[in-house]
């Protein structure tokens, strides 16, 4: 069904062609937003992201009324996650290279309830834009003191904090001269199976935002902004790190909460 090359190594289109395709999808969305409604998610079918062409469902998702098992989430506890795993800068003997940052925020559900004692997994490229992954072969250095994997459990008010190194943008082969905006990957569960999400946190003012089809697969500019952390000087620490704040709202729970469960 795809006319466009879907080979991840094709790198066929120019940035200008990709930009024009993105602009067209966004224009179509804006012109239909009033009737079709605001989109708050990324599109599964987003042709400028070539790998989505053969990997999106071609039929509408089927409505399911959640059953009991879907109203619960897998549980993770302190035996699963050491508090030390939230600091990605201490996993090796030496100091990793790059800008030390702290990323902190709260995880809430769509009704504003804090999502407490829940697993957050985080992973990322290093300060040179290279992942500790055998398939990432672009010629940027690996850092022997940085793996780029962290985990944390949220606190009683849904709060989390990671200490890490700011990742760099990196090239990929979606099109010719394609670069990803710098980002951290986040994985979260919520209190319902239905709240499971994997997403990416971005840094404010990234010059690559407009060029990045993965970021732009979120058609609504307000929705894109929700993935961008803000620089927070109160999180920066003297002689130690710069700070970012990123609050995360998961979807609403599908469970009918009783008064007792809420607190």
């Amino acid at each position: 069904m795809a006319e466009k090359p879907t080979d991840p190594d094709a790198a066929a289109a120019s940035q200008e062609e990709i930009d024009a395709e993105i602009a067209q999808v966004h224009r179509d969305y804006e012109s239909r937003k009033a009737t079709d409604g605001e989109e708050t998610s990324a599109r599964l079918n987003f042709p400028p992201y070539r790998s989505s062409l053969l990997r999106h469902p071609t039929k509408s998702l089927h409505h399911a009324d959640p059953e009991e098992i879907e109203l619960h989430s897998p549980a993770f506890g302190h035996q699963d996650v050491s508090p030390l795993e939230a600091d990605l800068t201490i996993q090796h003997h030496g100091e990793p290279i790059g800008e030390r940052i702290v990323v902190t925020g709260r995880v809430l559900d769509g009704d504003g309830r804090p999502v407490a004692n829940q697993l957050i997994e985080m992973w990322q490229a290093n300060a040179a834009g290279r992942y500790m992954h055998k398939r990432d072969q672009h010629p940027a250095p690996l850092d022997p003191n940085f793996t780029g994997v962290g985990r944390a459990l949220t606190g009683p008010n849904g709060e989390y904090t990671f200490t890490t190194i700011k990742p760099a943008p990196y090239p990929w082969k979606n099109h010719h001269n394609a670069w990803r905006s710098a980002h951290l990957h986040f994985s979260m569960f919520g209190t319902d199976f239905t709240q499971r999400i994997v997403t990416q946190m971005y840094f404010p003012g990234d010059p690559i935002f407009d060029l990045d089809p993965i970021y732009q697969s979120i058609t609504d500019p307000k929705a894109r902004d929700r993935l961008v952390a803000e620089y927070d000087h109160s999180v920066s620490q003297h002689e130690w790190n710069t700070g970012y704040r990123w609050d995360i709202v998961l979807s609403g729970s599908n469970r009918t909460w009783s008064e007792q469960e809420e607190h």
Binding site: M1, P8, T40, S41, A42, R43, L44, Y49, S51, S52, L53, L54, R55, H56, P57, T58, K59, L61, H62, H63, A64, D65, P66, I69, P74, A75, F76, G77, H78, Q79, D80, V81, G110, D111, W123, Y131, H133, D136, G148, V149, R151, H183, S187, T194, R196, I197, V198, T199, Q200, P204, T219, A223, R226, L227, V228, A229, I248, V249, S251, N254
Partner: protein, 198 residues
């Protein structure tokens, strides 16, 4: 500009990307029980793209009740103690798109209900996770009475039902597109945007 104060709109998802392999899969992730468990069963399958080619960079998670239909609430899915059934597993596909879990067959969570395992699919190229279910093939009456299956067009229902292997295992292939495109699920409070579809 980040989220405006008081905004409770859920965040959008983004693809898991190609480079999750060093971060998300972990030792013991696909093993909800040990292979020597008396009820151990293999749940496995292949993930295919729209050209019918196996997807080598997908990640599958499952969530299920135990053999008696009880919903687990115990932690310990990342550091398994070898005894506690936590109901959750994670497996990356291999170079030919194949995943495999060792688990127990789920029990019915209420009398007469059709047992199923919940499946979540992540992949490079897939902007947001996809939810689906795999039902056990033998519970004919319960399958016929299942409200979700009944709501799925008959010609697509088979995509939600695992096949029984000769050795007793359960095979559940996942197809993003094509004639046997898997039925993927959406839930009332869980926004998801497909983009243009049929």
């Amino acid at each position: 500009m980040a989220r405006t104060p008081g905004d409770l709109t859920p965040i959008p998802a983004q693809t898991v990307g190609p480079f999750f392999g060093f971060a998300l899969p972990y030792e013991g992730g696909p093993d909800l029980v040990d292979r020597s468990h008396r009820q151990a069963v293999r749940l496995h399958g292949t993930v295919y793209d729209g050209d019918g080619i196996p997807v080598p960079d997908a990640l599958i998670e499952i969530w299920q009740p135990d053999g008696e239909g009880r919903i687990p609430a115990e932690p310990g899915s990342l550091h398994r103690d070898g005894h506690t059934f936590t109901g959750w597993g994670r497996a990356a596909v291999d170079a030919v798109g194949h995943y495999s879990f060792t688990t127990v067959e789920p029990g019915a969570t209420s009398a007469g209900a059709a047992p199923f395992v919940l499946v979540t699919v992540f992949a490079r190229g897939l902007m947001d996770r996809l939810f689906t279910r795999t039902y056990l093939p033998e519970h004919t009456d319960a399958l016929a009475a299942d409200p979700l299956l009944a709501s799925v067009p008959e010609n697509r229902r088979h995509t939600l039902i695992a096949a029984r292997d000769d050795d007793g295992g359960l095979r559940f292939d996942i197809r993003f597109q094509g004639q046997d495109e898997t039925v993927f699920l959406s839930y009332p409070n869980t926004p998801q945007v497909t983009g243009p579809v049929d």
